[in-house]
């Protein structure tokens, strides 16, 4: 941490900052410029409160040197984490594809979708039983009945299940049926929920908050990991910007940035990141070309009748077409699918 003092600040202010920092067990190193003094702080700055020091008299700014996350960082673990689900390994050479409807609506709908996406080459089945909807008047999901449908379709098709968990008290229930727990974009900073899934042993797909920075995403992963659960898969799903033609803006830069900063696998959700089915294929190819370890895609047998997100869902034959094209891109970047 570097503390930049104001121009020509009084010696007493400087002394107070130094003694405060040293009192908390850090060493300091002063650098006297022409107009300002700069204090270098030596030690693990994550334990020091930036805000409070910033507030001391004579302090102009505090600049962190270290990143605030640790277990998630590539400095801590240089090699890629690998997370295996039913033999499909996130973080390896293969691009893992999860596909299925936004919401579980019926056994028939899930079975039909599962068979179609499996046929097209998907590795896991997605489907929501608990749905966070911005309106209390919208369909809120089938709840446990939906989880049972998912489990039965797993039985029939062999596809493992990823499904969302929205509240701490749902974790135990969902864990009984699911293979991967999904934390949705609105819950990325629901710390009570992160703590509970961190205490479980389940793989977690953590979606980036639509309003969260890359660093905040890694801090939320750190919450889960610091509770003991290191099986975290990160998901870029589009961020909110001023552009309104698309539902969200896919932050494709986040893929290589995350691969630099962390050892955790990184997947992309091209359905939410665009909000329009006509764009999903292009976004999926871009994601894989940029280095994503996987995709999570909305597929529905009849999008115009879907109870949620029909606008961005692919029909099964479009998904098969997309898989064929994504496969070629995956091979061009040295991956399989």
């Amino acid at each position: 941490m570097i503390i930049i003092m104001k121009m020509n600040t009084a010696q007493a202010n400087l002394d107070a900052v130094v003694s405060r920092v040293e009192r908390e067990g850090f060493r300091t190193h002063l650098s006297q410029g022409e107009e300002r003094t700069i204090i270098g702080v030596i030690g693990d700055e994550r334990k020091l409160d930036r805000g409070a020091i910033n507030r001391m008299d004579g302090v102009d700014r505090v600049v962190p040197v270290l990143r605030p996350f640790k277990l998630a960082s590539r400095d801590f673990q240089p090699t890629d984490s690998k997370i295996s689900i039913n033999g499909h390994v996130f973080g390896g050479k293969k691009v893992i594809v999860m596909a299925g409807p936004c919401s579980v609506e019926s056994l028939e709908q899930m079975r039909e979708t599962a068979l179609a996406v499996k046929e097209a080459g998907a590795h896991l089945l997605r489907g929501g039983a608990f749905k966070p909807r911005s309106s209390p008047y919208s369909f809120q999901g089938m709840g446990e009945e939906g989880l049972k449908i998912l489990a039965q379709v797993r039985e029939e098709t062999g596809l493992h299940i990823i499904t969302e968990v929205m509240a701490p008290e749902q974790v135990e229930l969902v864990t009984r049926y699911a293979d991967v727990l999904q934390i949705g974009t609105r819950n990325m900073q629901n710390y009570a929920l992160l703590n509970v899934v961190g205490q479980s042993n389940m793989p977690v797909l953590l979606k980036r908050g639509m309003m969260s920075t890359i660093e905040e995403l890694l801090m939320s992963a750190e919450y889960i990991m610091s509770n003991g659960n290191h099986k975290v898969i990160l998901c870029e799903r589009g961020i909110r910007t001023f552009e309104k033609y698309t539902r969200n803006t896919l932050d494709i830069n986040a893929v290589p940035v995350l691969k630099e900063l962390t050892h955790l696998p990184v997947v992309v959700d091209p359905s939410h990141a665009t909000g329009r089915w006509t764009l999903v294929k292009a976004a999926s190819k871009a994601a894989v070309a940029a280095g994503a370890d996987g995709l999570i895609v909305e597929v529905h047998p009849n999008p115009a009748e879907a109870l949620s997100d029909g606008e961005q869902s692919l029909k099964p034959h479009r998904f098969a077409e997309m898989m064929a094209e994504v496969r070629l891109v995956a091979e061009a970047v040295g991956r399989t699918i």
Copy 2:
């Protein structure tokens, strides 16, 4: 709801859309332009899924006519809602001021702060016992011990308490000690939490998500209200933008916009909305001038030693100074304080 068809779309597509909409119990009205047909949908469109219709063949766009919130809207209730806490009425002529530290740190800190803010004219005491922090390594709040301190200080000073609740299972505990439940910015769309506080009988201060629209804020209020609890106070606390000089951007427009759209009281948090104590006074005066019904302000006896948010906390004498100036502005716009 208005459905705009694509140029020169086939009659079969048009028929399919009309029959879908009518099957769900709505009436339709066709308007034939030179190049396009437009379908007006008559009925309560909140029950119709825009996305699914958007996805039908031949549909270009779907435009909602009604706003998606109802109980919270001024159309539903034209007169201002008034919410009284210990005789202080949110939504009336008086501007209600809540003040106190970000976190409860000790009995002495809370007592000293409470006496100071009461002396300066504050009406309620704020202080967090459960703290949502972006890092798992930061101070997470004192928990129930903090709530007990708040209750004791209420006993001693007569100031009622507003404090944050972060998870559904905390609601019962916090309700035992607090007078107003605060939902923080990261939990504005934590629907499990909204449902539980909606089933309680407690006044709720609902903070706008730092990247949520005004409409989404009202939809979250609607979640609480549709569960039976109509005592919702809305709080503008700054939104996330590209500007980085301040922690957030105070969306001052939101104050008159909300007063137009809803009957619920609207307060402003100038501390988070700026992130710098030097700006809090100006932001508070602007908020009251724009029509806010209240303020929630961070005050700490020794900000440089605060365990959180010291950077944006006022010292008690600065808060007293601010109150004196805000009072003049309140009077200039026909309010008291």
Copy 3:
């Protein structure tokens, strides 16, 4: 400037950075942490290219210490700049109000508006003869004919004129008729234009780019000032955010921030900052409460017939009503109007 090296970087990289910086005439100061070395650079860092140093081997990050603007900064000139137009002083105790239509449409329209806003207490008349419109098919302004109308109305009413200049080659023409040159939001970084108005002797109202930071606004003022023209009035006019209910988001924080950072006068445009006439009064009162030195407001005798921006224009009687209310707020913060 502070250069933070990567963890455990080679001595050769460190030497190369030090010798590069010293070669350009700066002194350096090394600070050795546990894992990293930090290089303090002593001298006027504005002359050093951050990007290039950032790109050197072994460099992790470069942190500026000084602000990049100089002539515009309060460090350079601690006392408020005062800019007088026809006896009305921007940057003094009086809040200066500029009012008039978006576009000059006819002599009658300008005359009627001028008389009405003068009667209500406005100090200058605004009106655009050259209009930047996002569509080439929209009304582009009356050009020189519009300037002549403005000059004639000044003759008749005594109100001085502020009007927009869009291109370097228009500056001479507009200068012949106007009293204040306005640089619009889309031209805040039109450096060719800034350079030309910087070489003139005319007061300039510089509008913040709708997606420019406060620092960039000050850098654009610096362009004008470094050409010799110090008569710059800054204008906050709303920024672009994800919120779509209003046309822009008024960044009210920018007012006290600018008053801290710079000695230049700061005014607010509540019409563009909201985009809706019903919000203009509240935004104006907030601006004055926050410390603005002036307002620039759109007023049109018949907004529904306006050739541009009718949606956000006040009718004259509404403007008079607004002025009465703003006056009370101005007095409450120790200003006149």
Copy 4:
């Protein structure tokens, strides 16, 4: 255009809107809902001012039906525009690559870069002689001397030249030396400049404003095209968001969106869109995978000594490596390079 009236508005208001619209030569069509009346406007709505109608009594909202651009739209011209420069065709099967330094600094630097990028497979040479810099104290480009260097290097290497033009009065000069005129991000809405390049016969690469929507980009293309010059190449170069780890956020969605909306070629600038050289390769592959018709990339023989943008420039051997990988992706999506 659809005009949505307020609930239970008076008949007189309705009549006034209808007569206003019909007076301007449009036909209307009324649709009576349960609570509201909706007026459909039939005719070319681009000629009707939305804002003014929005401002009429009783009007709730005005919804456009048509897109505001015409010449640039795929409805107007369904087949891809092809723009040929020195035999390299933008908008065809081949992905066109433009490469070179941010600024022209010397003949040696340009010659060395040109030979290297040509060797690696680039088709055009980029380099700025006029540089828009946010600080007046930064290097502003070599001006005409820089243009002469570019022309000489074209002579020597056969690579045609793309270079930026910043002001209307520079167009004639730059046209004498360049093969493609570049309009930079800060000038996307510099309408005086757009009009002048629109009157020239030169191919124009129009960069998206960092704060502009896709629709605004197309409106700026429309400015150029409506002046007679249809040779417009669109360039996505990253937009400004809250994410600060990267300089900008590459809006990869914009590529397929633009290919849907317009017939004009679309290229991507991965250097500005990321701001960090380590991300340029991934961004380039993503762009081509998403359907971009070309790339414009910053390459500098010695980025640490560059006078601008060193941080995001590739060294020649990294560029060659990038080209090899991009080629594989291009082939995977049925393109050549």
